[in-house]
């Protein structure tokens, strides 16, 4: 199937309702199921526990299957489409609407100058760190981020999406993505700095 081409999607069942054709069903399995691990990784990072992650994944694939007739394979393939559905399922589960981008959220490039000085203070010389504990602290810090910031940070780090891909997936401006990532990184950095200080890990070089 060429990029941008729609699926050979629908037939009509005995009740006259549209359903996926056998070709589209096979196509769905071919393009959607290979991304199951990626979707699960994001769901695991977004969900509060393994049970919720399972539910997020199942609902994502159920919606994806039902909507596959409208799916168009674009430049980035099926994964961004599935991630977008996952994001919407996540917001549904959390009982909130996705926040529309607001002017205040658009990036002010003074932030980046600010971040330059903030970044100097991230603890890096951590000595004999308990990495398992550190990982849990990091997850905890990410888990406390606002959903919009958390999603942007996870898409950037886990899925390796570019800012433009994140903007398209989240349906917001590029500057909004940059702003969300800036805030997410700053918040996580602050949390980890406090964590390092509490454990008297070496941060002298950065203070």
């Amino acid at each position: 199937m060429l990029n941008g081409e729609k699926n050979p999607s629908t037939t009509v069942d005995r009740a006259g309702a549209p359903c996926l054709s056998p070709v589209a069903r096979a196509r769905f399995e071919a393009v959607a199921l290979p991304h199951l691990d990626s979707i699960y990784r994001m769901a695991r990072a977004l969900g509060s526990d393994a049970v919720e992650a399972d539910d997020l994944v199942q609902e994502t694939y159920a919606r994806a299957y039902r909507g596959f007739g409208r799916f168009e394979l674009r430049e980035y393939g099926a994964k961004p489409w599935l991630l977008r559905i996952l994001q919407n399922v996540f917001y549904t589960f959390k009982g909130r609407q996705r926040r529309e981008p607001v002017l205040l959220e658009d990036v002010d490039f003074d932030h980046f100058v600010d971040e330059l000085s903030w970044a100097e203070k991230i603890p890096i010389s951590v000595g004999s760190l308990n990495w398992d504990h550190f990982d849990e602290e990091l997850k905890s810090a990410v888990g406390r981020l606002q959903p919009e910031y958390r999603i942007a940070l996870l898409l950037w780090s886990i899925e390796g999406l570019s800012y433009r891909e994140i903007a398209e997936l989240c349906e917001c401006a590029l500057g909004t993505v940059m702003s969300r990532l800036y805030r997410a990184r700053r918040t996580v950095g602050r949390h980890l700095r406090e964590y390092a200080r509490e454990r008297k890990l070496s941060t002298a070089r950065f203070d």
Partner: protein, 85 residues
């Protein structure tokens, strides 16, 4: 190119989004500015750490089976694209 302009480029580089970035100019700045170079290293490091912490999650077999079953069950089901946003 000043530090603020480079900061924007560093963000793009850390995101492997090279389009529109004048890489030679940025590299020249980074070679003479430890602060900006350090920032790029930290952004890259943060991305790698987060990828490591979350990246090893693999779909458990019970969930893989359930999704596969779900697709099987939905075969022939009603297509309702209004539910997909």
């Amino acid at each position: 190119m000043n530090c603020a302009e480079v900061a924007r480029c560093v963000d793009a580089l850390a995101s492997e989004q090279h389009g529109g970035v004048d890489i030679p100019v940025v590299l020249e700045h980074l070679s003479g500015c430890s602060r900006c170079a350090g920032r790029l290293a930290r952004l890259t490091s943060l991305r790698e750490v987060l990828a490591r912490v979350y990246g090893d999650a693999r779909t458990p077999s019970h969930l893989r089976d359930r999704v596969q079953s779900l697709v099987e069950e939905q075969k022939g089901g009603v297509l309702d694209s209004r539910e997909v946003s």
